[in-house]
């Protein structure tokens, strides 16, 4: 019982207790998730793995190291995939992951802790590798701990922004956004003297773009259309001739309108990354692109996995001619011209697996191998994976 003579508490409970209750955090059940589907394994194998293989092949001698920044989820499947597929030297794999399961008392925390113990026990993993609970968009904020960790561990050979939602959904011009995150990551990657790759998986439907951001992507494309008739021609041949209506398709969306929109939006995103590459003096190209359908009601694929290749270019030659060496950075338009065709050649992974049962079987096997490493039951997975293929 308190009386009027009792002084108020000098501290807040949060200054004394980390936990307010003498209970365990709720545990999340380990169910199979969309990213466990065989099609995701195809993305790992055909795009991520292929890109890493390409980077490692560019290395001089037999150097087998890899630094990686990504969103590996609490199962750390992407990291396990890399360790499983590639011959990396002891201590040669360094990663920084962002996942909410690393937050204190997270329902997936126990699972992440086990996964991290498993992965870090591999002698090829550098001891500074870690998963932190911060949202990756915090990297965009000045003085954030997330940026500081990336700065210290970077630059990276691979940045993998494997999103569930859309890259372009944040408002423009704010610190805490994926654009600011990419911009600040470019500050780190600027120090990278070797070729590296930015992997992006993002929704590309009409609802996945904030309007001001979409307007900017449109401006980037229109600027190329105006400055280069060749670009306009390539775009028209591969994606379409964009009109006001192409950029603002009206619901209900027709498959054709959706395809044209997502193609244009993907070209716009690639153009934005090309501009990033220009700012940090990198040659830029786009690797073969993959797509699949996440939203059940979507008549066309609404998720795209795209790989942007960055290849650092030496400083401009000395105009006075005193110094030898140097290289010219190819112009923006010369690198933009190839983008529409590559985007148009996108492979629909769902369709591919539906038409190629042998491949589907292989991917189920491969995924199962990976999921067993992450402590899932093989048989349950095989049954679930086959079911998902039948449904799709």
């Amino acid at each position: 019982m308190t009386s009027e003579f009792d002084s108020p508490s000098p501290v807040d409970d949060s200054e004394i207790f980390a936990l307010g209750s003498y209970e365990f955090p709720e545990l999340s059940t380990r169910e199979f998730k969309p990213w466990h589907k065989p099609r995701k394994q195809y993305v790992r194998r055909a795009q991520w793995g292929a890109e890493i293989e390409r980077l490692l092949a560019l290395r001089p001698g037999d150097e087998r190291t890899l630094s990686y920044l990504g969103l590996p989820g609490s199962d750390l499947l992407d990291l396990r995939y890399i360790l499983d597929r590639f011959d990396i030297s002891p201590g040669g794999f360094q990663f920084l992951g962002f996942d909410v399961s690393a937050l204190p008392q997270s329902p997936d925390g126990a699972s992440l802790n086990v996964a991290l113990t498993e992965v870090r026990s591999d002698e090829r993993v550098d001891s500074r590798s870690d998963i932190i609970g911060d949202d990756i968009s915090l990297v965009g904020e000045e003085n954030s701990l997330a940026f500081e960790r990336a700065r210290v561990l970077g630059p990276f050979d691979v940045i993998n922004l494997d999103l569930c939602g859309g890259f372009a959904q944040d408002p423009a011009g704010v610190d805490r956004s994926l654009y600011s995150t990419v911009q600040r990551l470019m500050n780190i990657q600027f120090r990278n003297p070797r070729p590296w790759v930015f992997l992006l998986t993002t929704r590309v439907g009409p609802n996945a773009f904030e309007s001001a951001v979409l307007a900017e992507l449109r401006r980037l494309i229109e600027s190329n259309i105006r400055s280069s008739s060749l670009f306009a021609q390539v775009l028209a041949e591969n994606i379409g001739n964009p009109t006001e209506q192409t950029w603002r398709p009206e619901s209900p969306f027709t498959p054709a309108a959706l395809r044209e929109f997502s193609g244009l939006a993907t070209v716009g995103l690639a153009k934005w990354f090309l501009n990033c590459a220009q700012r940090i003096r990198c040659e830029f190209s786009v690797a073969p692109t993959l797509e699949y359908t996440v939203y059940g009601g979507s008549p066309t694929a609404d998720m795209v996995s795209i790989a942007f290749r960055f290849d650092p270019v030496a400083p401009d030659p000395d105009p006075s001619g005193l110094a030898a060496g140097g290289a010219l950075l190819p112009s923006e338009i010369s690198q933009a011209i190839d983008i529409p065709e590559i985007v148009a050649r996108v492979v629909d992974v769902d369709a591919l697996l539906a038409s190629n049962s042998a491949l589907a079987g292989e991917l189920i096997e491969e995924s199962a191998e990976l999921l067993v490493l992450a402590r899932y039951d093989r048989d349950s997975y095989m049954a679930w994976a086959r079911r998902t293929l039948e449904v799709s």
């Binding site: 949060s14 004394i16 113990t117 001891s127 904020e141 003085n143 954030s144 039951d377």
Partner: protein, 651 residues
Amino acid sequence: MSDDAEAAAAPTEQELLQSLDAFEAGQDPLETTLQADDRVIARVTDGIYRQPGSALRELISNAYDADATRVAIDTDRPRFRRIRVEDNGNGMSTDTLVRLIYHIGGSAKRTREGERLGITSTGDPDSSPSGRPLIGKIGIGLFSVAQLTQAFQVITKRRGERHRTVASVVMKQYTDNTESTQHAGEKYSAGRVRIWKEPAADVESQGTTIVLDAIRPQTRDTLRSRGTWQAILGDSGSFSPGSERLDVKPPMFHIGTVTAQNESILEAEQGGPRLPWEGSDPPDRAFRKLVDSVWDSINRGVPNPNLEQLLDYYLRMAWHLSVWAPLPYMDCHPFDVTLDAGLTTYALSGGGVELLTTTSSITPRSLMDLHAGQLPSELPFQVLLDDLELSRPVRLLDLPTTSGAAKTPLLFFGKHREEFAGIDENLSGGTLAFESYILWAPKIAPTEHHGILVRVHDATGSLYDETFLSFPVAEQRRMTQLTCEIFVSEGFDGALNIDRESFNYAHPHVVVLTKWVHAALRRVIAEEKRVAAAALAERRAMGERARIEALDEIVDEVWERERGDDGTAAPTVIFSDDPDARVADGYIFPRRRVLGEYVGANARGRQRQAEAGIGGIMRVLSAFGLLDTLSTDDIAELAIAIRKIVQAGER
């Protein structure tokens, strides 16, 4: 639920083991309570350590005892929301972990039970399976984390097992009230446990990971050096020009701090991290840079560097952990310093000190058959704290010097074995054996290393004792030039208090050690005084010679200018009270009459200086021919007058 009810509702140890034997992948975790056989132990678990670093030290010791070759402590500094301690040691079987949960403080280490559980060596309960002498003994090490966190997780696996055992623990706050509800013999519940098994595909992996993920706010504040930052940044916790705050400066090196408003953002105005290493430095180089930064501060206007001023709590903790843990020395073990490395080395033997030869590349280890710190290369031990790979931050070579006369460090080695012959082991505590070095150097940095550190089986939990176990001699300045480590190889364990940070001063082993150390110190100090006195005398002699030569040069110069090349030399001047004294070409002055009496420190040296000075003046006067017309007595009076003027001027 009350403690007894909670403990009673929990499955028994045997029941839990049976359930875990039958545990299937994907099954829900089993629940039980964390139990102590004795409420005193429960109380101990609740918190006996002074600092968060102590609890981390206990986890490092556990890893060492489990034959780990590597421990990595990862934090999200400077936020400290989560700490993970991961080792590659033998790991625990499910049985061992369950035993730990049901018997906090009832460690199987140092018992025959330990051998059955695979946590001690076959046939030697005091050693790890690979033969390391065990550091831990009573089994509270793991639960020392209760002081840091309200909840934690243990993930452990033994090589060859196809599963990991995982336990999540939520600790309970000990209260005195619960004692009254308990009855003798009942177990005390110290927390709740969820335990389960996870299938493991990596059959060959082994080790234990402990994740602290409900770090207590007070612990976070300590790790964040919150008190310092609050004083710097003001109550708002953020820098704003003109706001009221104390005139406190950040330590020379620090990890920075997070803002009060958002713990994911670093305070940038004042608190951006200031570290002596770069992110690209490998961990061993990063730690060396930290240690060098402390020593090098001597050259940056910090004559007596102390960790408290130079480093924030986290960096100090890194330093202390590196002192405590059974790690290799940053350069080399003091016993492996070769005798020709530039130090003067001695053996503490018999009742005195014996100078060891200094031209030999032999080591004291081989010469005196010293064994401490011989880390088997096949079982190294590496401790990583975030960016840093820790090693003992003790420097013996290339030490900074001072303006003092004695500049060469003196390094003394000794060893002792006390068997307490004829005394019942129950009274003596058994044999005590130890080895030691004592270093005297003009500067020892940091000041926290002044004193004596006692290691048992190469590990310690204490800090340097600057009183040298209450050494009764007032040698304040000299004590700050001494650092000493004792390496106990037998005994002393029983003299350590439970926190391993202090000892029981009444224990026979402490009494013997204290007497040995004090006797050794007396010999060390006597030798240092002798060396210092000799060095001082030599320096004075050298100084005198140099000054006299300088005076001679002045006189010769004047003589040559005034007399030209006439083939003569300046006259000789001698001071003597000997009536038979003779000089061929010069003056003899009655010493006592002209110079007066010289007494006290360095009387002879000062007298020689005066003779040179007055003599020099007289010789210059002679060069000008000014003495030629004066009588011997007048010359003496002139010399007396000059001496008085010079002395008055000096005063």
